[in-house]
């Protein structure tokens, strides 16, 4: 698919324009007059950006590590899934190329020497920070959702619903009950007319 090769997912298609990736999509909708973070003051906006970076730094990197650097997961799940749209032998070449790219990035940021246990610990630490920040509130800032809520929902929902070789990652997230409630609530409030969702 030509779009797949040029743009990174997620992307939105508006008229003649295609905007990809979360940051630019947020800017685009803001320019169209829809913004969630206008109600925040400067200090809160700083906090929101900081927590979004924490998600990128820890959760996203951990997800990439588990998918591509853990050999069991990479062989059984990630490589087959990544290479499925392509014919042989392209599928193997692309899958190994992607794996090599991700591993290079991991060693540049210092994650290559980490063990799987350490990565799970980092995820737990990140979830603990998010759980403490959320507390008993409905959303992370005031009573309205912001970009941070969307990002947290996206990551946690993926972790909770994606089948991996072990359940340890989703179990770590499930120990934080307020995060679990948060994800359920958003799913029911905003996605209830679509089928599928969190089982158990």
């Amino acid at each position: 698919c030509s779009l797949q090769s040029e743009c990174k997912v997620p992307f939105i298609h508006v008229g003649n324009q295609v905007v990809s990736e979360l940051g630019p999509i947020i800017q685009f909708t803001k320019a169209k007059g829809h913004s969630l973070s206008d109600v925040l003051d400067d200090v809160q906006r700083a906090e929101m950006k900081a927590y979004m970076e924490l998600m990128n730094n820890m959760l996203l990197t951990a997800e990439l590590y588990i998918q591509w650097c853990d050999e069991t997961t990479a062989a059984e799940i990630t490589r087959p899934r990544y290479s499925s749209p392509y014919p042989w032998p392209l599928k193997h070449i692309l899958a190994y190329q992607k794996q090599w790219e991700v591993r290079r990035k991991m060693s540049a940021v210092g994650w290559a020497e980490k063990t799987l246990e350490q990565v799970y610990e980092d995820v737990a630490q990140c979830c603990q920070a998010l759980s403490q920040r959320l507390g008993t509130q409905m959303y992370f800032f005031n009573r309205q959702p912001t970009e941070l809520d969307a990002l947290v929902f996206g990551h946690l929902f993926t972790i909770l619903t994606t089948q991996l070789t072990s359940n340890e990652l989703s179990d770590k997230v499930k120990t934080y009950s307020n995060l679990l409630t948060f994800v359920h609530r958003i799913e029911q409030t905003y996605f209830e007319d679509q089928g599928g969702g969190l089982s158990s």
């Binding site: 906006r45 924490l54 990128n56 730094n57």
Partner: protein
Amino acid sequence: MAAAMELSCWGEGWGLPSVHTESLVVLAYAKFSGAKLTIQPVDWTWKTLTGTVPALHCEGHTVTEPAQILNFLRKQRYNADYELSAKQGADTLAYIALLEEKLRPALLHTFWVDTENYTNLTRPWFASRCPFPLNFFIPGRQARVALSLILLTKGESPLHSITEVEAKVYNEAKECLNLLSHRLGTSPYFFGKMPGSLDAFVFGYIAPLLKASLPSGPLKQHLNQLTNLCQFCDAVLKTYFDDDAPGSPPVSQDASVDANLQKLTQLVNKESNLIEKMDDNLRSSPQHKPRAPPARPTTLSSQKNSTPA
């Protein structure tokens, strides 16, 4: 309880206890938490090649990476964060992630990739601190590592070359500095009146940028406009790193204020003495028209001066 702890790090320069960001973070945290560290600079040793810096050695263990070292110090009961609430602890983690993602690439670029800065400042400094023949390739190796980190983390397609990534990297860094400035506001430290790990990290990242005399520094100019961050940096340096101040920080702050006041008084006295001498010379010189002397701050003679002959 306190076992001897040794820290290997890059040595001092540019008015700072260390020019290396990660080493500065650890040094600052040690001062905040009261941990006594023996500093072992790796300058002029072969450890510049073989050692990971900074590294804390204690009773046979070696801990590297600032975050791990800070965790280790906390376990040894040197905790500068014990007054923080759970939410503030979470905020600390988030802001440190912000620093690493948004500010670090730009700092690496400023010092190691920008040609003017690298050739005129960074490379000569580091080369002069390495023994022969390491001075020929250690700075180069650091520069290559810095470049690959920037490209791998920021240079996603369609940005492939460093010039395209530069604009993105610097914009994000300026935004990060603005966010930090908003968060700090008018308080002396990020959480309350005592500094913690976030203050150590911010200090470690910002101080080299502030203090090094960079020939080309758009980011430094941006930082100079954020006066509260500059004052924060200077306050940390003065309070915790003023030459051998082993006592509690408030005491040393008073002492340094008194010392400054004394110096200021001496300067004023010297200046006024100079002015008097100049005035005497002028009046006694035959070429200049005699005129009524100006009013002096110090009392010399209470009599009104009559017009000279």
